[in-house]
């Protein structure tokens, strides 16, 4: 089986969120970058688990980004995977990213394309679905479990207030979320091995962008907490009912 795992570079979960250039750009100064947690913990680790079960499995990683994305893709290779492809373009929006990855996916004849359920920065959650439609493949969003039985995948996905188990023939595209696998940290052997794994850089073909982030805003600051005495819980209920109109 051949798996393509899509990797994004995102700010660390604790990064300070601020904007520059008249609020049109994320302020990157001093920001630590990580592998998007959904890409790392769920899709990549699940792919590695499948390879551990069946060593003939091939895992390729793909990312869209400039040279500054290389430490991230190396870190992903340290966790596992056979080789990585970096499409040398600045990621601008989901359709552009999906179109670029689709080309790699099409040429590589993958049985399975995995993405995280969303990136923690732009929260679009769209690349998996966009890719699936460009490639005309089946797609399951927000998958929480994946089992492989020969030519069929058995996938669980979360729906409102429940869960479904779905069978689907390969090839298919999945977006992964919590439940899919347990987070791992790379070990020394993996880190050493990652240094010599192939990392191919390819030039992007010209693709369209359909949307643009025109401005960013921070949410208005909270008014400050209203503290209620633990001996006067009735007052809290009154406030929630009369002031906040929440109950």
């Amino acid at each position: 089986m051949k798996i393509l795992v899509c990797i994004s570079k995102t700010p660390d979960t604790t990064a300070k969120i601020a904007f520059t250039d008249n609020n049109t750009k994320f302020a990157e100064a001093g920001v630590q970058w990580i592998i998007n947690p959904y890409d790392e913990w769920y899709s990549l680790v699940r792919a590695i688990e499948l390879k551990e079960k069946d060593p003939s499995t091939i895992i390729n990683l793909v990312t869209v980004g400039g040279a500054d994305a290389e430490p991230i893709i190396r870190k992903a290779l340290a966790l596992g995977g056979d080789e990585a492809i970096r499409i040398n373009a600045e990621p601008l929006e989901s359709y552009q990213v999906a179109s670029l990855i689709a080309e790699i996916a099409r040429n590589g004849n993958y049985d399975l394309v995995l993405t995280g359920k969303e990136t923690i920065d732009y929260n679009g959650g769209a690349v998996g679905g966009l890719l699936a439609e460009v490639l005309d493949l089946p797609y399951i969003a927000n998958a929480t479990n994946l089992q492989v039985n020969g030519s069929t995948a058995t996938v669980k996905r979360e729906i409102e207030g429940g869960e479904e188990t779905i069978e689907c023939p390969f090839p298919l595209v999945l977006s992964c979320q919590k439940g899919m696998a347990e987070a791992r940290i790379p070990n020394m052997r993996g880190i050493m091995a990652a240094r010599t794994k192939p990392l191919k850089v390819v030039d992007p073909s010209p693709v369209q962008t359909l949307t643009k982030f025109s401005e960013f805003q921070l949410p208005p600051a909270k008014q400050g907490v209203k503290l209620v005495s633990p001996d006067n819980v009735d007052e809290l209920v009154r406030l929630l009912h009369e002031e906040a109109r929440a109950i």
Binding site: T13, P37, Y38, W41, S94, A98, I120, D121, N123, G124, G125, A126, G129, L130, A132, E133, L137, P138, Y139, I140, A141, N142, T144, T154, R157, I159, E160, G161, G162, E164, T165, I166, E167, C168, P169, L172, S175, K178, G179, T209, L210, T211, K212, F213, S214, E215, F216, Q217, K222, V225, K226, L227, S229, P230, V233, V237, L240, A244, A246, I247
Partner: protein
């Protein structure tokens, strides 16, 4: 020209998130001087004419046995046919489990720009820009869509349902439907009675509860409030509660009207999953817990004393005792 809204349903009923999407879509139609139309795949027990109350003029209904199986590849092609018939310039999905699979696909199919996770009406005065949540709720972005057709997915609980007068015309639509590749072999209800992502009220608890055996009191509070139950990441990781109750940056992101957090310190990753809640109540014995900075109301004290008192005070308010 129209604004077309996809109507999602489960167990024979239209999802609450779709009523929000219908209300939102009808407002956009009003704002842009076009008509709001809806598309539903399959059958429901609800009266489709009543969708007119949200401002929708027509409901295209596609009935076909193949559509009993949700398969985004098949659904997308059907929705695209309806969109063409309707002359849709804006297509609205809820950003829920179905919408997340469908909105991107439909966008590609119709060569439309997509804004996923929007939370306000678009600005159509000069082009088309719409606000969406970014950085896991820590910021907003205005997204400009340049294409002739636009696809939007509306965050759950981000738009208030509008109910007025009106009756929609239900139009059976004969679409070409492919056979699905996906096959649902099992379906289970995981959480309690209220779906976590759609819930108006969510009661959540963390490590402060000391062990899974102490969840009875938060369950009772949740029941009293008609709330869904949630938990923090350490609680899910320790298997005190199932993973599908974990809210936070790497779990489920929610935006209820009221979020009650019991014994959760409020790490930044937890806040990222709940900061879109309209009202936040924090109960914690540590006055320095960072969650108080993000809260609207707080009680500093012992959860084991406060939660039962809170439950009985709410019962009193609701006239249940």
């Amino acid at each position: 020209m129209s604004v077309l809204i996809f109507v999602d349903h489960i167990d024979g009923h239209i999802k609450k998130a779709s009523h929000e999407a219908l209300s939102y879509g009808a407002k956009i139609a009003e704002q842009t001087g076009t008509t709001a139309e809806a598309v539903i795949l399959g059958t429901v027990n609800d009266d489709l004419e009543k969708l007119g109350e949200h401002g929708v003029k027509k409901v295209y209904q596609v009935q076909n046995e193949q559509l009993q199986q949700f398969d985004s590849q098949v659904y997308t092609k059907v929705i695209a046919q309806v969109a063409q018939q309707s002359g849709a310039k804006v297509i609205i999905f809820s950003n829920n489990s179905s919408g997340k699979a469908l909105a991107p696909r439909v966008a590609v199919r119709l060569k439309a720009g997509l804004a996923a996770g929007v939370n306000a009406l678009p600005d159509t005065s000069n082009g088309f820009t719409v606000r969406k949540t970014v950085f896991s709720g820590k910021a907003f972005a205005q997204v400009a869509i340049d294409t002739e057709i636009k696809v939007l997915s509306l965050n759950v609980n981000a738009f208030t349902i509008i109910t007025g007068e009106g009756k929609a015309e239900v139009i059976p639509f004969d679409a070409i439907v492919e056979s699905p590749k996906l096959k649902t072999i099992d379906s289970t209800k995981t959480s309690g009675k209220v779906s976590l992502t759609e819930a108006d009220v969510v009661v959540s608890a963390g490590r402060g509860l000391k062990g899974p055996e102490n969840w009875g009191m938060v369950e009772e509070l949740a029941d009293t409030l008609g709330a869904a139950l949630a938990c923090s990441r350490p609680v899910a990781d320790a298997h005190w509660r199932p993973h599908n109750e974990h809210v936070g940056q790497t779990g489920i992101a929610i935006a209820p009207n009221l979020y009650v957090a019991v014994g959760i310190s409020g790490a930044i990753q937890h806040l990222a999953g709940v900061n879109r809640s309209k009202v936040i109540v924090v109960i914690n014995k540590d006055p320095e817990a960072p969650f108080f900075k993000a809260a609207d109301y707080g009680v500093v004290g012992d959860a084991f004393e406060i939660v039962p008192k809170l439950t009985s005070a709410i019962k009193k308010l609701k006239g249940q005792s």
